[in-house]
Amino acid sequence: MTRKQKRLAIIGSLSAIVLTAVVFIAIAMRGTASFFVVPSEIKSQSIALNQAVRLGGIVKSESWVKDGTSHNFLVTDCQVDIPVHYSGIVPDLFREGQEVIVEGSLVNNDLFEATNVLAKHDENYVPKDMVDKFEEKGLCPGHTDQASG
């Protein structure tokens, strides 16, 4: 092989490896990414059972029942309420009437089992995905104004 052919062969095989990796990355992305939804979308968009999603909304007032490490509460967007169960310790700033994002999946039509609960970690922090979606759909108008203000 001449010097030029050698160089081309090397560049070709390197590109092949990178391309394979990129295809692999794309497949992994399809398999692992989770969508962000609000409660009314769970009802309207028929989210499959056990599909990992992130659910954002407001912890409904007077809905939080805790028993040791087990927590039941409703996540609402002022139109639909979704019952959520979580076992573990909720974050310090988890409160009723406040924004929350729960990660997990629907285990049946009436229960969302959370594997992770995310609340604000300082008073300026607003879950941006959620506020954007609430504003776009005009959900809970008073609440998000207050949250982003």
């Binding site: 160089r7 992994a28 990414a33 969508f35 805790k66 490490t69 573990g88 310790i89 008073e123 879950p127």
Partner: protein, 660 residues
């Protein structure tokens, strides 16, 4: 006393000076003359002093709780301990930009002083480019994020720093990380200077290497420190979340590591020139991308202080300008560079290309996972989140071949090598790591998984890396005293390569151990109650209400020990910071050997019970110790006289050449 206005004025002067510096450097590039060269050097140093003065003025205002300064009012409190008053300076958007600029000008001044051995036109171009960066970032700080804004009326009390940031971690993590991030600006400036002048050779690699190494050391420590801080402060027991902000610091680390290795090939063999220059540009571009992601407010995380979205556009503009500018320059000048030496598909060079290939691809994986959700949201409004499963899968898979090859590197000679020969010399390491893997996996068997593969990689990288030292010192073959003498006499680069690779292996082993064997127990406990969990005994001693300078606290004390050993006590708290009405959780952590037990308390249950969350973290310290070993190995290689001696010789040769 330093006044706030003085600091403000110093920053404006530094900005004006950067404009002049760029102008004079451009002039000196076209018409080389000693006077202009001198001016550019001195301007770089003066600029640093001005920014330092400005930073000092801001710090004084914070430490003396001068709440007429808007920033101090918003982010400090008179009851905070002095250390936190000082660290509050950069615990906010404006102040952290000033810290960024301070480090940028520090590196400019360091190049001006340390680069006195460089050919003057090269130094001039490098400093001109640093001046241009300073112009952009000081301008950004002054016009969109001015830290020196005053309030018309002085409030009596400040609003306190976010309690999560009230920790010694804030004193260490951001400065280390910024030194690492911003240090790569020097590599960037060298790359741009090389492209403008068209002169790229082994000497260029030798100039750039110490700066790359220094930045890399600080970035390594900064990331490790950030990881440990998140681990103990956030109370979730996790040490790495694949949070976009963490990724933003990890990407320049990956390409910076690649750059260290490719610069080696360029220095020793004159090959990979174009790629090395490109890597230098990419690495700093990723640092800028990180700054953009964190400072623009498009991400919400612990790191993003509430920011004004218009700033994001300005940073995006600057980012686009520098990255596109550098890539255009690259596209225009790179074809004129002469290709370097040839090498066989199996050789030291090829191994380093392999390293670069996998590090670069892993960077692509992290980049895609970090940016894809943002891009998708911007174009379609669909909101997805890409979390740990994606990164564990892609990044993990890409690391397997890389880690397998790491120990081979030092055993392959330049130009042409043989895998069979290298394997023969590594045979002992292969056998030992297999045996260790079998023993450990059998002892801790938890069913079929990829764990043994991970363990094998960890042991293999550690033992394989040390084999080079063992072989060169003829350990076990000659008398121990002779071996010791041989070890002491080994070249510094042999030591640093071995130790850095060993550190990598330690981190890998720690990660595999924690991911597989960590345990989590959530339960309720009453004072006096004792329980046993995964080999540890935990006794809840008592709980008291107490208070710190600016918070109140419920503190639970536990006695913990691996079953059968002496107990140690730890306390875990729930704090409340009244200035912000914000509660935090302070985890209690105790170390036993390389392992830790980690306890967070939750809500009260019944009369005086508590929800407690107990993690055991086997060998977790290896994760951070590995990073520390890597940094120390890097620091040791920096002491190599080669980097101080070779440059002046070269400069002299060129001057002689010019005289002829």
């Amino acid at each position: 006393m330093l006044s706030i206005e003085l600091g403000h004025f110093a920053l404006i002067l530094a900005f004006a000076l950067s404009v002049v510096q760029v102008g004079v450097a451009t002039y000196a590039w076209q018409r080389p003359n000693e006077g202009s060269f001198q001016f550019v050097r001195q301007a770089s140093m003066l600029q640093f002093l001005l920014v330092l003065l400005s930073f000092a003025a801001l710090s004084v205002a914070f430490v003396t709780s001068d709440f007429s300064l808007k920033l101090a009012y918003e982010h400090s409190h008179s009851l905070q301990p002095t250390l936190y008053k000082f660290t509050s300076v950069w615990g906010n958007h404006e102040g952290s930009m000033l810290l960024w600029v301070l480090i940028l000008t520090l590196f400019g001044a360091a190049v001006a002083i340390g680069g006195s051995n460089l050919p003057k036109p090269t130094l001039n171009l490098v400093l001109g480019n640093q001046g241009f960066l300073a112009f952009a970032f000081i301008g950004f700080t002054l016009f969109t994020s001015n830290p020196f804004e005053r309030l018309p009326e002085m409030p009596l009390e400040g609003r306190d720093l976010n309690p999560i940031l009230q920790d010694v971690g804030l004193a260490i993590h951001p400065p280390l990380l910024y030194i690492g991030y911003v240090g790569f600006s020097v590599c960037f400036s060298f790359a741009v200077a090389a492209l403008i002048s068209g002169k790229i050779d082994g000497a260029w690699a030798r100039w750039v290497r110490p700066w790359t190494m220094a930045s890399w050391i600080f970035l390594t420590l900064g990331i490790a420190m950030g990881s440990y801080w998140a681990y103990y402060e956030l109370g979730w027991g996790g040490w790495w979340f694949w949070d976009p902000v963490e990724n933003a610091s990890f990407m320049p680390w990956l390409t910076g590591t690649a750059l260290l290795h490719s610069a080696l090939v360029m220095e020793k063999r004159g090959a990979l020139k174009i790629w090395t220059v490109l890597l230098a540009i990419i690495t700093f571009s990723l640092s800028l991308l990180g700054t953009f992601l964190v400072r623009s407010g498009i991400l919400t995380s612990v790191h993003s202080f509430a920011t004004d979205p218009s700033r994001g556009l300005v940073i995006l503009g600057m980012l686009t300008f520098f990255i596109c500018g550098a890539f255009l320059l690259f596209a225009w000048r790179a074809p004129t560079l002469k290709a370097g030496g040839l090498f066989a598909p199996v050789s030291r060079e090829a191994a380093l290309v392999f390293n670069n290939l996998f590090l670069a691809t892993a960077t692509i994986a992290v980049l895609v996972g970090t940016l894809y959700p943002l891009v998708l949201d911007a174009f379609t409004g669909i909101k997805i989140s890409v979390g740990a499963p994606f990164f564990d899968l892609t990044f993990g898979a890409l690391m397997v071949p890389l880690l397998l090859v790491v120990p081979f590197g030092p055993f392959l000679p330049w130009k042409r090598a043989s895998i069979a020969q290298a394997s023969k010399r590594l045979f002992g390491a292969i056998v030992i790591s297999f045996v260790l893997t079998v023993i450990v996996s059998a002892y801790l068997w938890e069913g079929f998984s990829l764990t043994p593969l991970g363990l094998l990689l960890g042991f293999w990288v550690i033992i394989g890396s040390l084999t080079d030292l063992v072989e060169r010192s003829k350990l076990f073959k000659v008398a121990p005293s002779v071996s010791l003498r041989r070890l002491a006499g080994l070249p510094k680069n042999v030591w640093s390569t071995s130790l850095a690779h060993m550190g990598l292996g330690m981190t890998v082993l720690g990660v595999v151990f924690v991911m597989t064997y960590e345990t989590e127990t959530i339960t309720t406990m009453e004072p006096g109650q004792q329980l046993e969990t995964y080999g540890y005994s935990v006794r809840f001693i008592d709980e008291i209400d107490t208070a710190g300078p600016n918070f109140t606290s419920e503190r639970a004390t536990f006695a913990v020990a691996p079953i059968g050993s002496t107990e140690k006590t730890l306390s875990s708290e729930k704090r409340n910071y009244p200035a912000r009405q914000m509660p935090t959780t302070e985890a209690g952590i105790k170390t036993f050997g390389l392992s830790q037990i980690y306890i967070s308390i939750g809500d009260r249950v019944g009369e005086n019970g508590r929800v407690v969350r107990i993690w055991t973290k086997p060998w977790i310290l290896l994760i951070w110790l590995g990073a520390v070993v890597m940094s120390l190995a890097g620091a040791y290689s920096l002491t190599d006289r080669k980097y101080r001696i070779a440059a002046p010789n070269l400069a002299k040769k060129q001057q002689l050449g010019a005289a002829r």
